[in-house]
């Protein structure tokens, strides 16, 4: 029996966020999200509930990477070009703070976009989504120790990328 729609609703935001981070484009993220939700509805009941998040994220990542591969000739929007980084201003901040925060996010997005796979996926799932190591290892089908080594490398690469473009004191604490 296919999964009910309530279970789909529980996954939709995370699937969309990860797809958006990996594709860097809202339209692509929408396509990936719909595809993943339909597959989740079709096959999710055959996946152990405890593993369903990891399964959904694996399908999301694969769909996103497939989409990117199929559109390599197309001009990709970066997150900055897509306007994502300027999408979350807080009302209680001064304009200078908002501009600075947007600038920091642009640097972060640029550094993230410069990571290769699977480092980018690992950083997205661990540092942004805050998923447990085991879920990420399942989603990426990596041994746990390998995942930790990759995460270590990914963090170092991110720090190196930001060190050259953004002084540490400008990063929000």
């Amino acid at each position: 029996m296919p999964l009910d729609t309530a279970a789909l609703a529980a996954h939709r935001h995370r699937v969309y966020r990860v797809a958006l981070r990996l594709t860097g484009c809202r339209d692509d993220a929408a396509d990936v999200t719909q595809e993943v939700l339909v597959r989740l509805w079709r096959h999710g009941d055959r996946v152990d509930e405890a593993k369903r998040t990891a399964w959904a994220l694996r399908v999301t990542r694969n769909a996103a990477l497939d989409l990117l591969r199929s559109r390599q000739t197309r001009t990709r929007y970066t997150l900055a070009h897509d306007g994502l980084t300027a999408a979350a201003p807080a009302d209680d901040h001064a304009p200078d703070d908002l501009a600075e925060a947007a600038d920091v996010r642009r640097h972060l997005d640029h550094a993230l976009d410069g990571l290769d796979e699977p480092y980018k996926s690992i950083v997205v799932l661990r540092e942004i989504e805050g998923l447990p190591y085991q879920d990420i290892a399942d989603a990426l089908e990596l041994p746990l120790n390998t995942l930790k080594v990759y995460l270590h490398r990914a963090r170092r690469r991110l720090r190196d990328a930001l060190r050259t473009t953004l002084p540490a004191e400008e990063l929000p604490s």
Binding site: P2, T5, L8, A9, R12, H13, V15, Y16, R17, L20, A29, A30, T33, Q34, L37, V38, W41, R42, L84, T85, A87, A88, V104, R105, L108, V123, E127, I128, G130, K148, L151, H152, R155, L158, R159, L162, R163, A168, L171, P172, S173
Partner: protein, 243 residues
């Protein structure tokens, strides 16, 4: 920037270090410039990544997925049925074999289930020597001149095949040339001998039966691929019809 303790940075950030090891690392980081700088950068980076805006999934995206699911759910009974029938779907060679078997069955049905009154006269005629065949009461077609009965000039020679079928302008429409009449086998020529007319009717009947059977066989094969039960019904119907 080199420090042997930098390898512990991630473990410290993730809380994987034992409490005693974590306190030792913190003490070292306070005294080591490289570790201090790296730890500060790592902590700020971690905070910045977690503070990135979490854009929710737009409702229209979710709605689109639900619409696709609804469409698929509507098609699912048919798809499920096809999946079930896929288990009884025959390979091509079996379908061909089944078709041949059906043809053989039809031939047998024609031979054994045909009522005696409808027996074709063909074999009987063939068994009789031509010389000994009784003359029909009506004159044989070959004994009659191939001219129109009401042609204005009875002595006009046969116009030949090139003109066959082309009515003479003065010829009455009710009496078409023999060739035209032969071209329409469904309407037996009233001048045709009785045996020949029966034989022609029988041939047409056989052709019709085979034509109908071929259609039934095609439908049966197609249906058997989809549903064995329905296919058997078609075969039964075909046999019943031929009987």
């Amino acid at each position: 920037m080199t420090c042997a303790h930098l390898d512990q940075l991630d473990a410290y950030l993730d809380g994987d270090l034992a409490p005693q090891a974590a306190r030792a690392y913190e003490a070292h980081a306070e005294a080591c410039a490289a570790c201090t700088e790296e730890l500060a950068l790592a902590q700020r980076l971690q905070g910045a990544l977690r503070a990135l805006p979490a854009e929710p999934c737009p409702y229209n995206v979710y709605r689109g997925a639900l619409d696709r699911i609804a469409r698929e759910r509507q098609d699912r009974p048919a798809a499920a049925s096809a999946a079930t029938l896929g288990r009884v779907r025959l390979p091509r060679w079996q379908a061909v074999g089944l078709g041949v078997a059906l043809v053989v069955l039809a031939a047998l049905a024609l031979l054994f289930y045909r009522p005696a009154a409808e027996t074709l006269p063909g074999p009987r005629v063939a068994e009789t020597p031509v010389d000994e065949a009784p003359l029909p009461e009506t004159p044989a077609p070959a004994q009659r001149p191939l001219v129109l009965e009401d042609a204005p000039d009875a002595a006009t020679p046969d116009p030949g095949p090139s003109d066959a079928g082309r009515p003479t302008p003065s010829a009455p429409q009710a009496a078409p040339p023999r060739e035209v009449a032969d071209a329409a086998p469904s309407r037996p020529d009233p001048d045709m001998p009785q045996d020949e007319a029966e034989a022609q009717a029988a041939r047409e009947g056989v052709l019709l039966a085979f034509s109908l059977f071929a259609d039934a066989n095609r439908q049966a094969t197609r249906s058997v691929r989809e549903n064995v039960g329905h296919g058997l019904d078609y075969v039964t119907d075909a046999l019943t019809f031929l009987r």
